[in-house]
Point group: D2
Chain length 368, copies 4
């Protein structure tokens, strides 16, 4: 209820602070019998890891995960899976000057008012570092969904600040530090980021995430709609300010005769719905876009106040991502996987096992 | 877990079908001692009621609410408040021809695959009629929030299909059938809708909803962020495909130096955050935009399939809203109120009573 | 969270007051496709109904149930099933004199302190009348469990005040007003109750309830143990003060060599465990005993205080059960069924479908 | 939902196995601002620790707790408190021979059938070792309840096998290895246990646990009654088979005129209710008794079957408690504290702050 647990039947309880001794999570409800090792989890953690290019924070964290429970002789037992990641490169001293003022656009203002306690260690609990345990939990969910239902997840960046990124192909995503589905614009993106860093400023981003191989029938009809839970999950990622399913805001100017995806015996003719109708999956790909705001911790001086309410000018040093959207790609995949696995288990509870007859799906891509 | 209950501490369990005998809800967790009568609830129900102009469905429902429990001598007792609305104008015969095919863009396809049972009575459970109990529950939440914390809710339409609606003032919203904050464009909107009806088509809409007088400190930091719960609530409204908080997708092209709302001793200098930082309310107005897709039940013939998977052409008659966005305005207010009251109660649980010291707030409006 | 919803996956939200206009419940999560009519529910309601013998309250309620939603053409659709029971024989005037004082042993004292509001209508929300909707919901659960897994529920009275009731056979239970599994002691029980009524006093009772045909493997290992949820359900019935599983308090004086139920290839050799080991069902019968306190509303004058804290003598008139344990038998069955169905659905979620291979079970009876 | 999280608003997610690398828990919802160090928690862990007398298991575990998060500069921040206890004295080899058979009365039978996976490491997840994290979490709850509401918890053994233990005074409880409230019977208890060990058998126990200084008004009226949650918590402790509140099963033979606790301006005249009326606390002491079954892991040979269903004789070696009831005393206190703090927070949510005006309370003791 205090907001640190995600999911109902595949539930993940997250703990830790950015500059405390450790972060981690406890997964309760993972089905028994799945082969699982730390290596299965480490791959996605490495994709999210800081310090991998000059365009992200230079904090050096191996993000090595330890499985503390729930796995016996390499298989899940049905018991809670506790995952532990020790912090190794804390530098709380960097945050000393932050303690007396509020960064414009940062959660330090609201935490202070909510709890009356200030934990300045790298943003403490509000740091995006707390997404690492979710990426770890998401890796477990992805593995089970792949093995049991053939569902896959992938995400990419579709806009970096003012630069839209054309979709050329999924194969490019792992080949550049931006998770861009494109090879020809990488130099432009690098130049944009270098310029931004020189200015001491930050920028926003737009990401696209999808699930393919979806079963039909997942989602609850009224409130816990599949798309409502997706929106909840995505807006729960640090810095996200907007979520779209399928056509998203584009549907405002569509006519009904255009938006509604026609059907043929071979499958859907388009996917404006983004794979969800009435809150329940159609079997088409889930298609989600999110908007990520620019980082609030920037070197540029900003007007603010101190703890007593007096005017102050704030400049933030320390190590920060100039665009938090870059490392958010694996996070968005993980959160989408956590939503889907939870709804698979919910569906099994009420309706028995999940349909294997996935309807045929029309071709589609992020730019559609 | 089956998705018909909204909220954790002020929880609303919804029941009913569009063409069944009755719809309603049970509110559990309403604080005791508040004056409450059916009249307090009826006002908002009347705003959402069908049949009030030629631009909405012509189904004639009084939507008269009966309080079955939880109120004694005009005051809430702390016990569950059951609210009952009898359906009076069902016409299931209109839906006979729908039963054998799937409407493109409609939930009848996914319900059929999920439950293996087809309830064709006006879309059964997937009908927007089920938002009426939420408007009723929202009216209870609004009254309590107004009386205890001075929080108010209001919404308006900011775009109808291809027509953006300029914000002129809140006073116009109740003066036209579109909930438009504008007096000069009404004729154009009416002409647009009349034309659409002639074509047998439907259109989308964009709405803006806000809460004013917000306390600071509401929301949980990690997953149950205030904005995540808002996204969940909004995406749970029928036909919503996109949600934005504050600057929304506009933040993608903002720099950090522009997006982060500066602070002065007199309050925030802008509200790009939409009233939420790190998932917790800042005390500024909550600012939310939603995209609503065009109605899928249209007269225009569409390609589809029947229950056996054979090709079929679908035209939908019966009574439908050509733009479901029109009547969604009071629904969006209600859902936002249900999110806020739940977080007030959650905040009281962990942190004691809610702060009365609301920070000063920069001027703002939907078009900002 | 305010305590009016029972169950997680087959969840029942209860509403109403003893002397309000109606009582009822909303079941969310019932699997789709089960045949269901009001007659399926009415049978158990009639067993619990007041006014059926001189040994229970003389309030005359038909307890006729109306299905408002969730059933279409005689089958459950997967949508919430709302059940409504109108109150018809309220007599609030009988309670006028109760309003200014507290009945010793009654919840009016604690409700007053918790809510600051007194709803004197027959005890309002604290009345055992609110068990009627649970009996109705339990009837739905029983039907599904019988049809899908062959599980049956039955209960009987094993002690009435000072009189232990010998177990002669289940066939007697429906043949007497006490739900006694015995034909030879009925006269003695009637004489005991007649005497009690003359004294203006009340008595306690002990009930036994069991489930037969149980699948193996139901229950969660740590907290949501099957027996923990049974204890929660039973202690949630009005007036229950003790719960035993299997050997219950008798296990204190047992040795491990005696208590642990031995196993042979033909099944368990005894059932001291009451059908649960480590919180998970063994496939043996579930065996539960509960203690029900004497009714607090009695004619005998008792020392108490009034709302201002001054001494007062309280005598309660109106219509009350001299032994609430009598009508609790179908209630206990219903609550046990609600626990079991919830765990069947939970088990399906995590572990897939429920085992059909029930282990062989040693003969057993309440007096074992 | 998979049963490893206890509590709704002060929620504790437990993880680990008896012979895995570590056990622990994550507390979410602890109010911010409370002073907290590992020493505050260690005291209760030491009371529950194995190896402290010859009458309990000889496994040697320091049970040293590490706070991983949620505390900054010695104060709780409102963020999740993760507590880690490393296992140091695992001896899985002792369990080799258990792997192929089922111990009569042990959960290894049901785990096998539920999960299809056998984790033999000291009972794996079903071991009473998993109560250590609950004792740790309970220590946090106790501290907060003491500081904010003056509530205290204490428990003692009232029967060991066939030997009832007379209540002489709370001061004796910490002076003997049995948590007996008695000085004169200790020799008899030691002789009883020595004899039992020689026989290779085990015995049951009865414990009494109470909360003093209780506020009035805690508990939800219908299902989440305070006593229902207590029953749930107690039955969730390993080996508990019975729970009584106040008079418990004794109420069966009480008359209403005897059971109902009279009131005077000075307070209640007795406490047969055990501090709860209608599911809500009266402000009197909470009074709870539990029955604990004899340990199932005994040296005495017992009839059983192997994994293929063939007859087998089982004798259990390794290190086991001959009476698990002995170390259950601090566990029962902890679980009661976790129930009470959760209901304090729930009460704050719906009704605002908790009443400070505790009614006067009649004198009482376990033997009453």
């Amino acid at each position: 209820m205090a907001g640190s647990t995600f999911g109902h039947l595949f539930s993940v309880s997250n703990f830790g602070e950015s500059h405390g001794p450790a972060i981690g999570c406890v997964i309760d409800g993972c089905p028994p019998g799945m082969a699982l090792t730390e290596a299965d989890i480490q791959h996605d953690l490495d994709r999210r890891r800081p310090g991998t290019s000059r365009h992200v924070t230079q904090r050096n964290e191996p993000d090595a995960v330890e499985i503390l429970s729930g796995v016996y002789e390499g298989r899940t037992t049905g018991a809670p899976i506790a995952l532990l990641i020790r912090n190794t490169d804390q530098r709380s001293k960097d945050y000393g000057n932050i303690l007396q003022t509020f960064r414009p656009g940062h959660a330090d203002y609201t935490y202070w008012h909510k709890y009356g306690i200030r934990d300045p260690r790298g943003g403490g609990r509000s740091s995006a570092r707390l997404t690492a345990p979710m990426v770890a939990a998401g890796a477990v969910a992805k593995k089970w969904l792949k093995e049991h239902h053939g569902v896959s997840f992938r995400a990419c960046m579709t806009q970096l600040g003012e630069l839209p990124i054309a979709f050329e192909g999924w194969e490019h995503v792992s080949q550049n530090p931006f998770f861009a589905p494109n090879a020809s614009q990488i130099e432009a993106l690098e130049a944009y980021m270098d310029d931004l860093r020189k200015q001491g400023d930050s920028c926003g981003a737009r990401l696209y995430v999808e699930a393919t191989g979806m079963p039909v029938g997942l989602g609850e009809p009224l409130f816990d709609k599949l798309d409502a839970d997706i929106a909840f999950a995505m807006m729960g990622i640090n810095a996200v300010k907007g979520v779209e399913i399928g056509a998203g805001f584009g549907c405002v100017t569509q006519k009904g005769s255009e938006h509604g995806d026609g059907l043929t015996p071979e499958g859907f003719m388009s996917n404006h719905a983004g794979g969800v109708l009435g809150g329940i999956s159609t079997g088409q790909d889930l298609r989600v876009s999110i908007a990520i705001k620019p980082t609030s911790s920037i070197r540029t001086p900003r007007p603010s106040i101190d703890l007593e309410g007096n005017p102050a000018t704030v400049e933030t040093f320390g190590r920060h991502d100039p665009c938090v959207g870059i490392r958010a790609t694996p996070i968005a995949e993980a959160m989408l996987a956590l939503v889907v696995i939870d709804h698979v288990l919910r569906h099994r509870a009420q309706c028995g096992d999940v349909s294997v007859s996935t309807p045929k799906i029309a071709a589609q891509r992020p730019s559609e």
